[in-house]
């Protein structure tokens, strides 16, 4: 009972931290209450983990109170926005939701079933999967047990063979729950994975509705995403790829909504999500490149002033992390400068066959992806003329840029290419899966009129 209380409190506090960020971004209360709370939780995780990382770097001990204090101070400073938000929440609570028809009720039941199944699987076992115990949970345990004084020492010396240069959002989010519970508990901590998945599904659903899709289709697309075997599996096993997929997708979905509605909150949320993706995994740098590419392509005189400062801020975050890695001599144990020294262009292009074969295997891999990739390809072909026009370009171009980026990584990897592909391609495709389904939803919505 006490454990349940602290876990619930953990989610409330994390959401509260993120709510501060959203309310700063959302001057005009453009977002609905449920999506604000879902987004606030995910942004809260990103912000608190960055804060904890800074605290650890300065040798400050992690305590729940100390971590939450700046957020309490911030909430006092923006109290009028909280009042505005509360008024809006009360108003929307009084509003009645239009009744669900039979088809919607059936889809909703299927969606609840898919989400419940994911939660069920997550709690069957404590941390035990390969990457979770080898990288993420291992780092979380080491950091939690070491802090505060040995924080940097642990980062520098204990993670040499487990990708020491990986960013820290994921392990620090586990440390944050351990700090809250005041003990190491790698069974309870698994709750954060399916909760992130659920929060993202809510954002996905409301974004589809905002993109002018009907409720039935939005529900159907959300169910489809929730029931993709890989998407649901990675929300249970303690791998960082699900979180990466979530931040990557939010970044471009919000950018799409910004292109459509021109509301500041969407743009700032997109930039924040791209930074969070970068803070989750090294592959996040490809997300940032995709973000900058889309912004550069769609930049005009009118948007120049509002876009450039935030793009620079994003680049500064990346530079800060690069400087930290350099000072700590954190170098990837697989991909580093040595890789480029042995780089052979001819050999790299010879790998394309194997790479394309692996992609093809996934596209037709119904067991793991259901029809998701086939529907995406259909949507691209169906809407071919408009695929790279506004506002679709904010979804499609990132998908293509990210896939090209990953393909280039495979072309230069020093690993055995077949081994590397079979162990990671499916996880990399997971990063863009929600964007693929979001785009498919838009095309289907247009078709249905």
């Amino acid at each position: 009972m006490e454990l349940a209380f602290f876990v619930i409190l953990y989610f409330i506090v994390t959401t509260f931290a993120g709510l501060n960020i959203i309310l700063i971004f959302d001057k005009d209360n453009a977002l609905g209450c449920v999506e604000v709370l879902a987004l606030a939780y995910l942004f809260g995780v990103a912000a608190i983990t960055a804060e904890m990382f800074l605290m650890g770097s300065f040798g400050i001990k992690f305590t729940s109170l100390l971590i939450i204090m700046p957020w309490i101070a911030l909430s006092i400073a923006i109290a009028p926005r909280y009042l505005k938000f509360a008024r809006k929440a009360l108003k929307s609570a009084k509003m009645s939701i239009p009744r669900f028809d039979l088809a919607e009720k059936i889809i909703l039941c299927l969606l609840i079933l898919a989400v419940s199944y994911t939660f069920f699987i997550a709690f069957l076992k404590p941390m035990e999967d390969y990457d979770s115990v080898a990288i993420w949970a291992y780092k979380a345990k080491a950091i939690y047990l070491a802090q505060p004084k040995d924080f940097l020492d642990v980062i520098k010396t204990r993670f040499i063979d487990v990708h020491p240069d990986y960013p820290y959002l994921f392990p620090m989010s586990e440390v944050w729950l351990y700090t809250f519970l005041n003990r190491f508990d790698d069974y309870t901590v698994k709750i954060i994975f399916p909760v992130s998945y659920l929060a993202f599904l809510l954002i996905f659903y409301f974004s589809l509705k905002k993109a002018a899709l009907k409720r039935r289709l939005s529900l159907a697309m959300t169910f489809m995403l929730a029931s993709v075997s890989h998407f649901s599996l990675f929300a249970t096993n303690g791998y960082a790829d699900s979180q990466m997929s979530i931040y990557c997708s939010i970044a471009f979905i919000l950018l799409y909504l910004w292109a459509k509605e021109k509301k500041r909150v969407y743009f700032l949320g997109a930039i924040f999500s791209a930074a969070a993706a970068f803070w989750t995994k090294n592959e996040g740098s490809v997300v940032v490149i995709a973000m900058l590419t889309v912004l550069a392509v769609r930049l005009n005189k009118r948007t120049l002033r509002s876009v450039v400062p935030y793009a620079i801020a994003l680049c500064l975050c990346i530079a800060g992390w690069a400087i930290f890695k350099n000072r700590m001599s954190l170098q990837n144990d697989v991909m580093n400068m040595e890789t480029f020294r042995h780089f052979n262009v001819f050999m790299s292009f010879k790998r394309l066959g194997a790479i394309l074969y692996e992609y093809q295997k996934n596209i037709f891999g119904l067991k793991y992806w259901n029809l998701a990739w086939l529907i995406f390809i259909y949507a691209v072909v169906r809407n071919f003329k408009n695929t790279l026009t506004s506002p679709y370009i904010f979804i499609t171009l990132p998908v293509f840029v990210i896939l090209i980026g990953y393909t280039i990584i495979y072309m230069i990897t020093p690993h055995d290419i077949v081994w590397h592909l079979t162990t990671s391609a499916e996880r990399l495709l997971l990063h863009v899966l929600p964007l693929g389904l979001f785009y498919s939803g838009l095309v289907i919505g247009n078709d249905r009129g």
Binding site: K125, E128, A134, K141, S229, L366, L371, R448
Partner: protein, 125 residues
């Protein structure tokens, strides 16, 4: 135009039904044919310690518990009988942390399935 819309809607409805059928098929196949349901039954009947034991393998987990209780916290160990880079090796490193795997270790852990042993460096030198 209206007829065309009807056709398209029907096409999407069929795709959605196929999606549900595939989703249900793979879940049921895993549960029944691959025997996941039996794993779930066992896991549900166990406490957290039992779940970990089932996930890691009962013998490996018994060995790990023995090591944890026998070595003082923060010890170093070397291990024989586990493949380098295997999931078992990762689970051992994770579970025994803050005890660390090192070349110049204080303890030698020997694991051979059901049989296992832990020796201090003095004894095996």
């Amino acid at each position: 135009m209206h007829k065309n819309h009807k056709k398209i809607n029907k096409f999407y409805l069929i795709i959605f039904i196929v999606w549900i059928a595939l989703w249900a098929h793979f879940i049921i196949r895993n549960l029944v044919r691959k025997g996941y349901i039996n794993h779930y039954k066992i896991l549900l009947s166990r406490d957290v310690d039992g779940k970990r034991s089932y996930a890691y393998g009962d013998q490996l987990y018994e060995f790990l518990k023995y090591c944890k209780s026998s070595m003082p916290e923060g010890s170093t160990y070397d291990i024989i009988g586990i493949i380098e880079g295997s999931i078992d090796q990762r689970r051992i490193a994770y579970y025994l942390y803050p005890d660390l795997c090192a070349k110049d270790a204080k303890y030698l852990l020997i694991f051979d399935g059901g049989k296992y042993m832990l020796k201090r460096k003095k004894e095996w030198n």
